[in-house]
Structure formats: C-alpha cells, structure tokens
C-alpha cells in the first residue's frame, strides 16, 4: 500500500563534459511509494525549476523498461537495488523512509559524461556498425519458412537479442567491460543460420571495435549478467570467446 517517504538524495551534478562535477544533496519529502524512481526525479526537477535552479539532466524515454535510455547508478548498483529492472521501472517502495540515495552516472572511459547523469553511449552504436548485422539488402530474402530453426536455438537467440543496450553491464563491471553487450549480438547471430556466412568476420570486427573504444577486459565476475535488466546470460560471453578463438585460428583474416 501507498506510503510516503522522506529521502536524502545525493546526485552527481556536472554542467558539461569539461566541468569537473560533484555531488549535490537534496532533501525530498512526501515521496509516494507508488512513484517510479524517475517520477521521483520529476518531482525534484519541478521543485528545482520553480526555485530557479537547473534541473537534473538524465536520459529516459519509454519508461517501460525497453528502450534502454535510462541509466542511473543508484546506491552502488546500475538501475538500483532490484534484479531485472531498469531505473524507470524501479519504484520507490524499494526504498526505506529516511534513506540516503546516491545517484551517479555510468562511469566508463568510453561513456563520457555529457551533463549530470547523461552519458554518451555512442560507442555501442559504433560496435554495432562494425558487425552487428546480417548483410542482406532489402528485397533479397527467401521465404521466411524456408529455413527451419530449432525452437531451442530460436529461443536462445531471442534471449540474447533481448538486450536493450542500456550499458548497465559496462556500468556494473569493475573493468567497465562491454563483453556482455557485444556477446549478446554475436551470440544471437551465431545461433541462427542467417548469421553463419559472416560469423567469423563479425566476431573479429566487433571485438576489435570494442577494444578500440577503450572498454576493459573481462574478468568473468558475472556482475554484468547479475545487473542486466534483461538477465542476459554469461553463456553468451563464453560463446563469443569460443567464436573469437575459432575465427582467429581458422579464418583467412
């Protein structure tokens, strides 16, 4: 049932990429437990605007857990204390009255802060451009049922493809590694017949781009998967490792 909370919010404020930034503290009262975490920020921003201050900038869009825009590091964890939810679906009933909540942006060299809690995740797009696709032009496709795919593989490919590209994996990883994100795409196509012709090239190109962007290496801590709002499994990383090894050993590149 609905209750009201009093909260102490510590939020990272940074005017722009060049600004050094720091924490600001805000006291909030009468926060309904039915609010989402972002609605709590709406309340804060409304107050800041009325007070003539600059509201907190943060990325968000669909607010139903699928677009991958929202990206807050809450009390030491990406998307906050609950498993398998994004920041926008986290609700205030997950917090206690009087609690101090520390909110930071994703931290990673390839995710520079643009403003406050907004970071630049275009590195993910560049990794996708490097090989996260099947090279077919529109209009060339054969009948959709011409290639049967086992349900098991289709389901596993779907589980990988469920990635929303939010970057929580990078944020959670002590090395800021993007292995879970990259492997989800590599794995999706590795499991499907459509992905086979470019399987070797894809994994090599995507890993090379991932390294160029400056992400860290994988220590297999499993933090990425544990914090992933879509619960993408570590098996995809293993599959990518295997594919990468095979590609390097057997391809002509």
């Amino acid at each position: 049932m609905e209750n009201n909370l009093n909260l102490n919010l510590k939020v990272w404020r940074q005017k722009n990429a060049k600004d050094k930034g720091g924490f600001e503290e805000y006291k909030l009262s009468e926060i309904s437990t039915d609010m989402s975490f972002l609605e709590m920020f709406d309340v804060l921003n409304e107050r800041l605007i009325v007070e003539g201050k600059d509201p907190v900038a943060f990325d968000h869009d669909c607010r139903e857990g699928i677009c991958g825009a929202c990206s807050m590091f809450i009390n030491g964890r990406p998307h906050g204390p609950k498993q398998a939810v994004t920041t926008c679906q986290l609700h205030m009933r997950s917090f206690k009255d009087g609690e101090t909540i520390v909110v930071e942006p994703w931290r990673a060299e390839p995710f520079p802060v643009i403003k406050d809690l907004v970071v630049d995740r275009s590195a993910f797009d560049r990794i996708m451009s490097a090989g996260g696709f099947v090279s077919i032009n529109t209009g060339n496709a054969q009948d959709a049922n011409a290639i049967p795919i086992s349900k098991e593989n289709a389901d596993e490919a779907f589980a990988a493809a469920a990635c929303i590209g939010c970057g929580a994996c990078v944020a959670a990883c002590k090395n800021a590694s993007a292995m879970l994100f990259v492997s989800a795409k590599v794995s999706q196509f590795a499991l499907l017949p459509q992905g086979q012709p470019e399987r070797s090239a894809r994994v090599m190109e995507m890993v090379a781009q991932m390294d160029n962007e400056g992400f860290g290496a994988c220590t297999n801590t499993g933090a990425c998967s544990a914090e992933c709002p879509k619960e993408i499994s570590l098996t995809h990383i293993a599959r990518m490792n295997r594919d990468y090894l095979m590609a390097e050993l057997t391809s002509n590149k």
Partner: protein, 667 residues
Amino acid sequence: MTSKLDSKIPEGNLEQKWTKYRSTVPLVNPSNKRSLEIIIVGSGLAGASAAASLAELGYKVKVFCFQDSARRAHSIAAQGGINAAKNYQNDGDSTYRLFYDTIKGGDYRAREANVYRLAEVSSSIIDQCVAQGVPFAREYGGLLSNRSFGGTQVQRTFYAAGQTGQQLLLGAYSGLQRQVGMGNVKMYARHEMLEVVTIDGVCRGIIARDLTTGKLERHFGHAVLLGTGGYGNVFFLSTNAMGSNVTAAWKAHKKGAMFANPCFTQIHPTCIPVSGDHQSKLTLMSESLRNDGRIWVPKNLEDAKALRENRIKPNDIKEENRDYYLERRYPAFGNLVPRDVASRAAKERCDAGFGVNKTGEAVFLDFAFNTLRYGNMEATKKGIHNPSEAQIIELGRAVVKEKYGNLFDMYQQITGVNPYEQPMMIYPAVHYTMGGLWVDYNLMTNVKGLYALGEANFSDHGANRLGASALMQGLADGYFVIPYTIGSYLNNEIRTKAISTDHEAFVEAENKVKATIDHLMGVKGTKSVDYFHKKLGLIMWNQCGMARNAEGLKKAIEEIKALREEFWNNVRVPGEANEMNPELEKAGRVADFLELGELMCKDALMREESCGGHFREEYQTEEGEAMRDDDNFKFVAAWEYFEGNNWEMNKEDLIYENIKIAQRSYK
C-alpha cells in the same frame, strides 16, 4: 474533392495497382543516386527501415533522431506482434482477407489502395526480418509460430515473446548501422528537427538542433522523410515514450503539409491505471491478457465506494455481486471485443460510479476463474482425483504464470500488488494516433519532396487500428514502399545540384527557429513546462478522449487557446539555449502540442458521427453503440494551416469499390 488533394492512386484493378506501379515507376540511374541526398527524421521502424533500404540503393542518406541512439525509437516498445498474410496456418488467410480486416477494423475510414498494398507487402516484411536474423517465435518443428489478435478470425500474427517491436526495430537498426559503418548513412543522434526548409514550395532541407550543444544546424536534402511517429503525448499521459512528439510533423504542417484526421486516436483498454498526480506515463499490459482475464466491476455502488476507500478487498465481493459488463453487453465476443469498444465500456462503468481504485478510474481484470479452470484441467491431466482447492489454485497459477509470467511480474513491479492473488486493475489509456500528415499513394505530403511514413502519416488505419498492424505499416512503408515511390519524384531531381545551406531560405528558417527558442527562453515565467503539458493533457483527455461531444469540444478549444496564451507568457525554461537543455526541448514540443490539441478538437467537432476511436456522444444508438454516418462523413479530413492557428478543411472522399461497407457489430 478539392483540387489540392491528389491521392495519385494508380489506375487499374485493386490487385494490379501496386504490381503495375512498381513495374512502371520511373527509375533513377545508380550513378545519379549517389548525388541525391535524402534526409530521414526519426529512426523507428519506418525511419530506420527506409534509411537502410535507401542507402542500400545508393542514395546519400542522413538520419536524425532525438534519442541518444537510433535503437531507442519508441517502436521498440511494441509488444504483441506483426501481421502478415502468409497463411502459414492454413486457416484461410489471404492478402484480400488482411486487406478486408484492416479496412473493416478501421471502420471504413482508410484508403483502399494503400491498405491493399500494405496487405500485399506484408509477407515480404516477414521474409526480410527473418533474413536479418530477427528471432521470431517458432514451433518445435522449426517453423514460424503465429497467434491470433483482436478483430480477426485467422492466426496471422508473428511475434517474438512480448517484445516484437524491439526485435523488429533492432533488425532495422542493424541494417541502418551497417550502412552507417559503410559510410552510406550519416547518423545524427541527439538531434531534433525544428523546421522544414522549402524553396518555391518544394522541400529542400531541415533545420535541426544539436541537443548536446544547442547549436542549430542546416541540412540540405533532395527529399525529406518524416518517420517521426504519433502525437499521443498531446494527452500528457499515454503509453508513448516521454520524448514522443509531434514537432517534426507539426513544423511540416505549418509549412503547408496537411494534417489528416487528427482526432482519430486509439485508446488501449488494458493499461495500468493512474496511481497519482506524480504519474508521468502509462504502461500497457498486452491485449493478450484479455484471453484469460475477465473484466468486471461491482454491481452495487456501495461496494465500489468501499473498494475506493479501501474498506474491502476485491475478493470480498461475492460472485453474484460482480458485473462482467463486457460479457453482459457483448455475449458473442465477450472480453475480446475490439479495443475501442472495450475502452468505452470501461469508461461508461467508471463514469457511472463503479470505478474500483482510489481515483475511481479502474476496472478489474480477473484471472481467478480461468486459474481454477486451468487448475482442474491440469489435475485431470496429472490424474489427481479429488484435488483440494489449494492444489487446483496452485496448478492453475502455474499455467497462468507460464502464459503471462513476465506481464504479471511487470504489473507487480509497478503497482506493488500480486496479481496472482488479487485481480489486476486496468484502465484505458491513449496508445496510438491513426491521424497524421496527409500523404498520397507515394507517401508524399502535399508539399513536394516531403514524405511521411509510419505512424506519422494517416493513411492505413482509418479510424481504428487493429492490433499488430502498426509494426506492419511502419516496416511496409520503410522497406517496400518508399524505395519505389521516391523514385517517381527523385528521377526529376537528378538535375538539382545540392543547394548551399547559405541560401536565404535556410537562413530564414534558422532565424525563425532561433526566434522561437529565444522567445521560450525569454519568458522566464513561473510555471514549468510540465505544468502546462499536464493541464493540456487533462483538457484533451476529458473533452477529446474516449467520448466527445460538441459542447465539451467547444469548451476545450477555448481552454486550449487560453492555456496557450498563458504558456507563452508564463512558462519557465531554466538554463541556456546553447547547452544540453531537456526543459527547452520539452517546451518546444509542448508549444506544438498546444496548437495540435486545438486542431484535434476542431476535427472531432467537425466529424458529427461516431466511428472507430472517435466517439461522439450525440451519435450513438440507444444501447450506446457507435453510429457511423457514411453519407456525410466518408472522407478524410485534411486540414490546411494558415498563419495564427487558423485552419481550413479539405476533403478527400473515400471510395470503396472492392468492399461492401457494413456496420460493425460484436454482439
């Protein structure tokens, strides 16, 4: 029909129109394509698929989206599925049947030729997506799985769990990113289009704002494509993304493009109800829940009051005191009536005082009955004789969990209520807008060189969209229509050299944008943008929502005008224009909604009939069903903008040569 609207529908039989058109449309030589530049605004299903396809053909493409990545466009949130007339289930589906269902579902307010083409290319969409590696659901034999959706009697919906939109968008996005990597597409993420540039009435480019730096940019294009989605956010609360807006379409409208059927909005019946004033958006619960959930409210007003005051629990109300109003009113379709009908019925009960949550705007969606039914079936299957009630419930819950587990989890996460134990509460919410920029058969607006694709145009869904048809239309437009139809325009443009963005038209357009921004920044009033947006949303929802009447609409128009006036005099936009400033972005969008809202009400007022999502209380049967007026309103209302928020309506008559018009009935 006025001469201003030429729908350019090809001659010939319905079945032959598109085939013949495709074979005869003028082509552009590959070497000429390289020097033709196309601007695409929006990176959803329509925008991304068009960008990928046109870049593959060799055009120089620029794509703009306001999100931080093309992958975040709101198409990603579509849950249910995508229709295609594949007839894989051998259940009698065909192109004609999909065409027929879509026209009928749209309550006979869509254009035949466009809808038939949509049905025709639907199969190719599935082929294309599968080839891209979109992981659709499959049967054990390895072939594609289908499910049925509201308003149809065949199984033609392809799906990927409850994330079909996501998978299709990521497919289109991967095609787009491939072209970005090859250098054929230049991507401008975190950019918002703020003006269309026209020279001598022909669209020649756009002005966009870099949302990171606040810098205004001029971009030239031989053609501009708007795939910018719908305008449901005019209601503030909707299932749209927070950033979804009408701005691009509205700027096009103000540059001469007509806006068609703006009042046709779809209200989705199964959304999580509003929980308080803090609510920022509404979450859809898939329509599929209505297969096993029974919708009810208490029969007695005292029970409803007690529920609202939290004095009793839903399960305290005895079976005989529950009103399963859909089953009562529509015995043939029961809980599976189309969206518009289900939504209105919920509103009717809540207006009569039977709403069940503290706001009085919610009805129950109850799985208890089917949980027991499934439980008994399972017990029989497992050979359990005389199972206890607890056993039955446990077995039944397992079946429900298997079918809807992720939706139940989501519901619990948002509301904090366990839907396995208590019935869900739902209420209708704004979901989709059938109206949009008027386009001809080529998807070109009445402004030469300016196109609208997907939800941004008006063309295919009439007055009501069927489930699983939005994804179909977005991708049809992007993958299979625009690549052909754009040739008929661009083949005349091969002699047009790229126009310098120093041209006075660009300078003028940029100055206009700058003036608007300066004005917004300069008001320095006392109320936030959201304050106005919420107020507008309330006016729209109350007067131009699920049910409308002349009096309310007239009142709304006056209220919107007053609110607009107040907005421009008292809005407060903090920060600076030359930096990342989300409040400034919102302010620009709300300014446009404040104009669109008025037009929607005007359109709703003009349309003196009830059809699809548009329900005028004056035009209903004694039993409260919609009364369409085909004699007087079988047309598309395309509104032309004149300075100072004045509009003039142009009619495009709808001609049905292949379908016999009938009254919809679900009794």
